[in-house]
């Protein structure tokens, strides 16, 4: 089996079988990490360009390591967001990159739809590493992988996503992925951070954290941008933490064996307490490891499509 498209732009348009294929492919790559030589020659001679319009060391490192473990050559192109409006257009930039004969373009951009535009313009495989509040598909996939690994399944699980859903591409990719795999998804945040008609994506909306955690198998906490209170979306971070912060006491409301996840980087003591982040329910570091395996799987499968 193969992936249908040359690109991975989001989980919305991936079908269940494709998601399963990626998760299944990531397994053996993860096993590789326990060996002393973690590298395979699958992508030898191929060029992977990391085009990052937003500073994101974590995601970039993860993709870069994934590409290197597949023996690909990598090139980092960082563009500051401030130069976007004045400088070279996105389309011109990616056409230049294509002219360098890149096989893959991994793009992180602050605006929704950026990866879509790039994929229309060039023949290289495009992987969306996060576009505005739209999608972050490899994050969604690594989260699915982590849940499946820990719980043995995804179907029928109850998952609550807590926090700034309005601005979160991670939330959207997770909602698509989890719903596709048969999970029940809830979102919980103050109403200012819940986008309109999110119910149409098949989720249930909660404003009360305790109620939202009832019987859940997975607590997924989103990073809260510290400047949200300036945008009149929150009154104070203190109040946010009081009502939506995940603490040890809050865990009582969820299932006893529930997982606690976070896409990172965390604001300890704001959306999640240090105690929970480091506690035995937390799989946050596991997510980081799995991220590399998932990104290897995606690169490997897309390379097979050419």
């Amino acid at each position: 089996m193969k992936l249908k498209n040359k690109d991975l732009l989001g989980l919305e348009n991936l079908d269940k079988k494709e998601v399963q294929l990626i998760l299944d492919t990531a397994g053996p790559f993860k096993d590789l990490f326990t060996r002393s030589i973690k590298k395979v020659p699958a992508l030898r001679g191929r060029t992977v360009v990391l085009l990052f319009y937003e500073p994101s060391t974590r995601t970039k490192n993860s993709f870069e390591l994934a590409a290197k473990r597949l023996s690909a050559d990598t090139l980092n192109v960082s563009v500051s967001t401030s130069s976007v409006v004045k400088g070279e257009s996105l389309i011109d930039t990616v056409k230049t990159i294509e002219a360098m004969k890149a096989d893959f373009v991994i793009i992180r951009h602050g605006m929704a739809g950026a990866a879509e535009i790039v994929s229309r313009e060039i023949k290289s495989s495009v992987i969306n590493a996060g576009d505005g509040a739209h999608e972050h598909p490899t994050q969604g996939l690594l989260d699915l992988f982590t849940i499946r690994e820990k719980k043995g399944k995804i179907k029928g699980l109850k998952v609550t996503i807590i926090g700034d859903v309005l601005h979160s591409r991670v939330a959207r990719s997770n909602i698509w992925g989890l719903k596709k795999m048969g999970a029940e998804v809830r979102v919980c945040a103050p109403a200012t951070l819940i986008p309109k008609e999110i119910e149409s994506m098949g989720v249930e909306v909660f404003y009360d954290l305790n109620k939202s955690l009832k019987d859940v198998d997975v607590i997924y906490t989103l990073r809260i941008q510290l400047e949200r209170q300036k945008g009149q979306l929150l009154s104070s971070l203190r109040e946010y933490t009081e009502f939506y912060g995940i603490t040890k006491e809050r865990l009582k409301y969820a299932k006893e064996d529930c997982l606690v996840m976070h896409p990172g980087p965390m604001n300890r003591g704001v959306e999640i307490s240090g105690e929970v982040a480091d506690g035995n329910r937390s799989v946050i570091l596991e997510q980081v490891t799995n991220g590399i395996a998932i990104r290897m799987a995606v690169l490997y499968l897309l390379a097979g499509n050419k």
Binding site: L90, M111, H134, R172, P195, K196, S200
Partner: protein
Amino acid sequence: MKKILIKNGRVIDPANKTDELLDILIEGNKISSFKKSLPFTAEKVIDAQGKIVVPGLIDMHVHLREPGREDEETIASGTKAALMGGITSVCCMANTNPCIDNVSGVKFILLKAKNEGLVNVFPIGSVTKELLGRELSPMGEMSKAGIVAVSDDGSSIMNAKIMRRALEYAKTFSLPVIIHSEDLNLSQGGVMNEGKVSTVLGLIGIPREAENIMVARDIALAELTGAKIHIAHVSTKESVGLVKEAKKKGIKVTCETCPHYFTLTEKSVGKYNTNMKMKPPLRTQNDIKAIREGLADGTIDCIVSDHAPHLDIEKDTEFNLAAFGVVGLETLLPLIMVELVEKKVLSLSEAIKKVTLNPATILKLKKGRIKVGECADLTIIDSQKELRIDAGFFHSKCKNSPFIGRKLKGFAVTTIVKGRIAMENRTFVSN
């Protein structure tokens, strides 16, 4: 004097409720008679058998971009596009650069239109200086110079007190105030309709209430002041309802909509298609239904293009950065034919009325009807003419149309402006 005879056309003139096979004789720039079987006495005879002959269409909401953005459109190129669309009169909005907020601006437009314009151009002056919503523009002087209405279209007057004064001032000079209804605080940062699609795409939404609140406010202010207001580009069900109620109460309010608001929904944004980005944004199927009902019951008086040309580089970009607005002069008529007449939302005569008599009445133009002794502006329509809308279709300098890829039916084939055949068989006729 040169004579033109239009033979055997189905003449539709909503002003006299005419709908029959008639001949029209044009002498010089005027209509000299129209009746059955006129003798062949003209130098030029147009065989209009099987075609529809209507008063020249009026598009009362157009952005011609001159002065300031001649790269996007000029009075010459915009009026050429109008001509090809069967439109013989356009009203151009004041949000040029510099904007039309004084007499010299108005005179510039009129002079340019006289020298280079291919159809009649009626300028609209701004309501406030520099469209800033702060100080009133010289409406009286501009009215004397030739404006037909005032509007801060492209922006919105957020201060209700200034709007109140503007309405009173415009009333003094018998000028209708055309209102772009948008609460700029509510719409701030938004790039499409707020709802299901914006949520999935991760784009910032513009709630429908940004329009509804301002329509409600300005209807209240029209009642307070007794001024005449005209709500531009109605896009929501609620706006239609508000205007309908206001009309019942006798408040002097009229309104318009555009083809994209009775044809397309937010779903058309699809995968970030920037040709679907305009203000107000495309709404939902429910709104389309209400707008069609509003057109049918007379709540919506006019259909306009809100022609807003933008260059490829302003549209081939991230959705957030893309310019708002779409071209429309050349697709106005075929969309009315396909979406309203063919689908029986409006009779042909009712539909034509919304692009002839109604705008003429609102703006007090001596246009929009077929009358002996009046200026001969006429449009001949071939209801069977089919064309595919692609980049090569347009005569405007820009092709940012949301209808690219569609095949439409019912185009103007001949356009007569002030007694001159300016477009014939879809070919431009030079002077």
